[in-house]
Structure formats: structure tokens, C-alpha cells
């Protein structure tokens, strides 16, 4: 472990560590007061960032990952910041509470599953069931921005939060069942989506001023994080559609009382 100068920075070589050993080491760094932790040679270790609940409650750390983190990156994340220089696997930000995750690449299935706070930015595309059952309440409004496209069941059961699908790099959206079972939150999609690709619980609406503001804000953040070769303005110049649930109670009429 090396210590940096301006911020208290520590470095861990993950190449010979199991996930438990790596997370032990990260936890120890935080207990020792690290503000920034650099992980080198990460090769599939799971749960990075998960074990950082309150070893030092005031200390929110930044974790920079070189390599490929394993499943459940930042699961139950509690306000830290994770940057991945590479791709991520399944379960990024699973049940995340607060914090930020940036992935300079693609991510696997169930990105942001059940997250209820914080932000996730994925530069490229994601797998199935992204934003599955994402929620929000009182002050919490989770945000997921995906640069490319997503596969089926994007925003399934979504109960709150914001999902933005940018469709950069001329990808076409092929996902089906988008927003199926959705009963809260909003999905913005740039690029074309046919009616048959949508779940029957969502409706397509035109953007209003407040939507433009939301998009402007998060697309700016997105373009600031990643070197995309396309500006915020260029991204926003193309048309977006907005998906909203048609009911807060999609299954209210299924039962006989």
C-alpha cells in the first residue's frame, strides 16, 4: 500500500486477492483514513464498496478501479464514489442507497436493481433488467444514465427515480418489455422505440420544460465524466421520448374482494 500526498490516497494490488481479502483491505484503508483508494489488477472480485457502511461514517471515499470488478459492484453502497476504468459485470449498484458509480465501459444485467438513491453512469450499454424495481421516496431520487442501449425489461417494476438511455454510437434500441410493471419514476429514451417494445403499463409522453432541465443536468454530468467525442449539446439536439407509468396501481383490478 502506498500513500499519496494531497488527498490521503492508498493503493491496493488486487491480483492475488479473493473478494473477501480485497474488501478487508479496502475496509482497513478506510479505517486508516484513506480518502481515495486505487485498486489495480481487479479481476472479478465481487462486492467492492459493499463493506464500507460506517467504519468511518463521515469519510466518503473514492475508489478507482483498474480492471474488471465482479458482480454486485457497490451493492448496498452507502454514499461512496466508485470509478471503473473498464467494464463491470452483473448487479452494479444493487440496492444502492447513496453515492456514485461511473463505468467507463459496459455493464451486465440488473444495473441499479432496487436502488433508491445515488447515481450510476454507464458509458456504453447494459444487459437485461436494468433499473429493475428502482425506487425513490421523500428526498431520494436515484439516477441511472446509460450511454448506449439496454436489453429487455429495462425499468421493470420501476417505482421511482430517473433512467436516461442515450443511444449513443448509432445503436438502435432492440429491448422489449420496456417499463413493464412500472408504477413510478420516469424513463427518457433518445432514439426510436416502437410501441410493441413497451410494457403495457407505460405511456409515451412529450417532454416538458422540467424534463429538459433534468436531461440537461444529467447529460452534462455524463459528458463531463466520459470522453465521448460528442458534446452535451449534440446529444440533446436529438429528440427524446418520455415514458411514464399509466397507473400507480397497475394490478389493482386483478383481485376479487
Amino acid at each position: 500500500m502506498k500513500t499519496g500526498e494531497e488527498v490521503n490516497e492508498m493503493e491496493i494490488d488486487a491480483s492475488k486477492l479473493t473478494h473477501k481479502e480485497l474488501n478487508d483491505a479496502i475496509r482497513n484503508c478506510v479505517l486508516e483514513g484513506a480518502e481515495r483508494i486505487i485498486l489495480r489488477n481487479v479481476y472479478g472480485q465481487r462486492y467492492i464498496g459493499t463493506r464500507l457502511y460506517s467504519p468511518n461514517p463521515d469519510n466518503k471515499v473514492e475508489i478507482e478501479i483498474f480492471g474488471t470488478p465482479g458482480n454486485d459492484l457497490g451493492a448496498f453502497l452507502n454514499g461512496h464514489r466508485i470509478i471503473v476504468h473498464g467494464n463491470a459485470q452483473d448487479g452494479v449498484g444493487n440496492t444502492m442507497d447513496d453515492g456514485e458509480i461511473m463505468v467507463e465501459g459496459r455493464a451486465g444485467d440488473i444495473v441499479g436493481m432496487s436502488m433508491r438513491g445515488g447515481k450510476i453512469f454507464i458509458r456504453d450499454s447494459v444487459g437485461y433488467r436494468a433499473a429493475m424495481h428502482m425506487k425513490g421516496y421523500s428526498g431520494k431520487k436515484p439516477v441511472l444514465v446509460i450511454g448506449g442501449t439496454a436489453q429487455d425489461f429495462l425499468g421493470e417494476y420501476m417505482a421511482g427515480g430517473i433512467v436516461i438511455l442515450l443511444g449513443l454510437g448509432n445503436v438502435s434500441h432492440k429491448a422489449n418489455f420496456i417499463g413493464t410493471g412500472m408504477h413510478g419514476g420516469v424513463i427518457y429514451i433518445r432514439g426510436e422505440v416502437e410501441k410493441y417494445q413497451l410494457g403495457k403499463e407505460v405511456g409515451v409522453l412529450k417532454l416538458e420544460d422540467k424534463d429538459e432541465e433534468i436531461l440537461e443536468k444529467y447529460v452534462r454530468e455524463f459528458t463531463n465524466y466520459f470522453d465521448l467525442g460528442i458534446s452535451q449539446k449534440e446529444i440533446l439536439s436529438e429528440e427524446f421520448i418520455k415514458l411514464l407509468p399509466v397507473s400507480k396501481r397497475p394490478y389493482g383490478r386483478v383481485y376479487a374482494y
Partner: protein, 506 residues
Amino acid sequence: MQSYLLPEFEVERKEEKCIRCQVCVRQCAFETHRYDEELDRMFSDVEKCVGCQRCVVFCPTNALSVRPNPSAYKLNYSWTDERISDLTKQAETGGVILTGGGNDKPYRVYFDHLVLNASQVTNPSIDPLREPMELRTFLGCKPDTLALESWSELGDVEIRTAMPPNVMIETPILFTAMSYGAISYQAFKSLAIAASEYGTLFNTGEGGLPKELRAKYGRNAIVQCASGRFGVDAEYLNCAAVVEIKIGQGAKPGIGGHLPGEKVSCSIAETRMIPEGTDALSPAPQHDIYSIEDLSTLIYALKEATNYEKPVSVKIAAVHNSAAIASGMVRAGADIIALDGLRGGTGAAPKIIRDNVGIPIELAIASVDQRLREEGIRNRCSIIAAGGIRCSADVIKAIALGADAVYIGTAALVAMGCTLCQKCYTGKCNWGICTQDPYLAKRINPDIASRRLVNLLRGWSLEMKEMLGGMGINAIESLRGNRDHLRGVGLEEWELDVLGVKGAGE
């Protein structure tokens, strides 16, 4: 549409006793009773009555009685009254029939076909009133072997093996998962108080744990992480004694749940972390678990999130392949396996599922315990059995079949006043248990209801000590999986086989 339904109950009011005090009117949230001022008479709309007996108990002059409606269709063993009224209801609504409580169909209750042993002549029985009797139970994974080191000439030894986290309970009875949302805040808090007073655990279900209860009752809580992930955050997981992954529930194996939006009040929305007034939808599967390997991923995610300090439980409904699934669960890292049987209760489930899916808990305990023993991994987990535990003898029999402890749900609700009217899903519980209506919920006073629950735990524990003493056993541990103390009465060969017990007289 004119309803063809027959009223389920008949209300009889003895006019000479009735003093028109209207207590019955105020007690019934289903609006069965009403007072006509002009006529100075009480009327009852029997078709609204659910048979919960609240008005009968609270009538100060005992003027009321509520009994099953004597009107009946022509007797038919195939097309019973229940079948006909369900058909009628569906013809009138086109919906899935909901119900509450546990399976009430006449499936064989194996507990009632098992008898216990007692010491006679050849070994002495023990009197628990005067001799030590141990009900204390430890839940969690136990190591395969113990490395001991002797450190003094007096023979003191120290355990060198790293012990996995275990939770100690004073009696092998825990309160099963009943969420804030399914039950009222008052009922939820009553369970929390009782568990902490008696030294056992309550289970939050998947509705979260209100923040103000965490510091005081967290250490007696099993917190659930279920498919909806409601109310799950790092503080919630870390304040608890045990974290439980809910895969399934005995009353509704394989399906999800919907807490209707009208029940999602401000406080429930806050606790579940969802917007007020939206349906709280629990998907049928956990979408990060499609296999044993995925289950392992979540088990270890929870262990990571709690710094490996807490046992992780996995709860499944008892189904056909429970034994094989349980083996996979243990190998995936579960420290506790909770099995919920066919008769397990619920706040709301489709009746067709509740009454037809799953297997009786007695058979599941026996087959899971047997399988884990055969594979040499029984020590790696504790087994909690749930679903139809009605009395202390059921607890003893469940433990003799192989469980470490039991969950009670319905029994605890009955202790608080529930009369099993099965209308939990309406949110109008007259007993203040299964409702979010503040007027009804305040009928439960947590100080009094928790006293009733503690009394129940105490009564059962005393009875269990008597039964253990009678068998000549002085610690509940010695009974676990000790099927020699059971004999079957009136069971078929295959049933005795699965239960691993001999027939009575053998």
C-alpha cells in the same frame, strides 16, 4: 349486479338484552350493525359480517351471537358451499379470489399423528420445576470440527477454531415475518417488545424496520431482504441480529405480493422507501437470484454488507424438492434455513395458491434434516420451521423431527386478539392487527399486547420443559432430530418413512 352470495354468518341479537349502546356499531369496521334512531332499533346487515366475533366479545350485555349461517345449499361433498360461493364471487367480479390467514383445508396435520415418549422405570424423568432445564438455542453455522488448546495444567481449554456468528435465543420460538404494512404499527411494535423482553427474535418481514425502533429492538430483529428490497439499507442490515433472504412463503410459494397503494401511508412509504400511495409490488422471484450460485452471491453480498458479523438466513416455502434445495442453500452459505410449510399464514394471498401449493411442514423438516445429515452438512446451518405451529407440543415435535427452532405467526396474532376470520387482506381488521386505519390500529396497545405475547412464550416454554423432563431430557439440544422420541399413529408406511419415525408400539 344483484349478488347471489349467501351470507356466511348469521347475527342474532337478543332484543330483551340489547340496550342500544351501539358498541357493536363502533366495533365493526365492516359496518354490519347500524342503529335506526326513529325506530330506536338495532339492525344487522348479515352479508357484511365476517365472523370475527369482536362485537360479541365487546357487547356489554351479551346480547349478540354470531354463528355460521344455517342456510345452506343442498349437501354435496364435491360442490361444497365454499366452492359454490367462490364460483359465485368470481362470476360477479372476474378476479382472483384473495384470502388471509393460513390454509384451512383438511390436509393431514402430521403433528396430530405423532406422539411423544416419556420415561418409565428404565430411566428417570426430570422435574423441571426443581432441576435445570435448558431451552436456550443458538442459531447459525457451527464449525465442522473444533480445534482446542489446553493452556493450563488444570485442564482449561480454549477454542482455537474461529466461530461463525451465532445468535442466542432463550426459547426456540421466534415470531415469524410479519411486515409493518401487512400488520399495524402497534402490532408490529408489540412483537418487537415481546421478543426483546423474552430474549427471542421477531422478524420484520419485507416492509423495513421503522428508524425509531432500530436502536432499541434491532438486536432482537431478523430483518428481511426480499424481492421488493423494501426498506433495505446498510443501517437496517447492520442494526439487526440476523439478516434473512426471503425466497418464498408457505402461504404463497412461487408468487410475489402486492401491498395495495391505499395501505401505503406516509410512514409506510418512508419505511419501505417508496412513494406514498403506490402499490408496493414484490416480484415473484428476486431478479438477482435465478440459481443457487446467484443465491450465494446475495448471501455473501449481505455478509459483506454486515462485515461477516451476522448469520444470514434463507427462507423458502416447503415444496417438493425442499431437501435438495436446502442442500444447495447450505452450500451457498446460508447459516439458517427457514422452512415455511403448507399451512403458513399470510396477510393476503390468492386463495387458490394458499390452498393448493406446497407441502406440510412436518414432512419438509424431516426430509431436509435427513438430507443434510446424509451429506454431512447439518451442522453448517440451523433449521427454523414455520407454518402451522399451534401449541408447544407442535414445537417439541418439530424439534424432534430435526428443527432447531420454530417461527410462530398465527399463534402470536391469536395471542393479540386475532380470531382467524381471514379478512386480513381487506385492511379492516376489527382487532387492530391487520390494518393501517388509525382508528382500528389503536385498539392494540403495545404494552398490553406484548404482555399477552410474553405470556404465550412463557406458557409454551413451561410446557416444553415439562415434556422434555418427562422424556428424561434436560436440554432442548438433545431432542433435536431425536426421532426415537416420536411414534406415528394412523400413518401409512411411506409417511413413516419420510418422517423417519416408527409406528406406535414398534
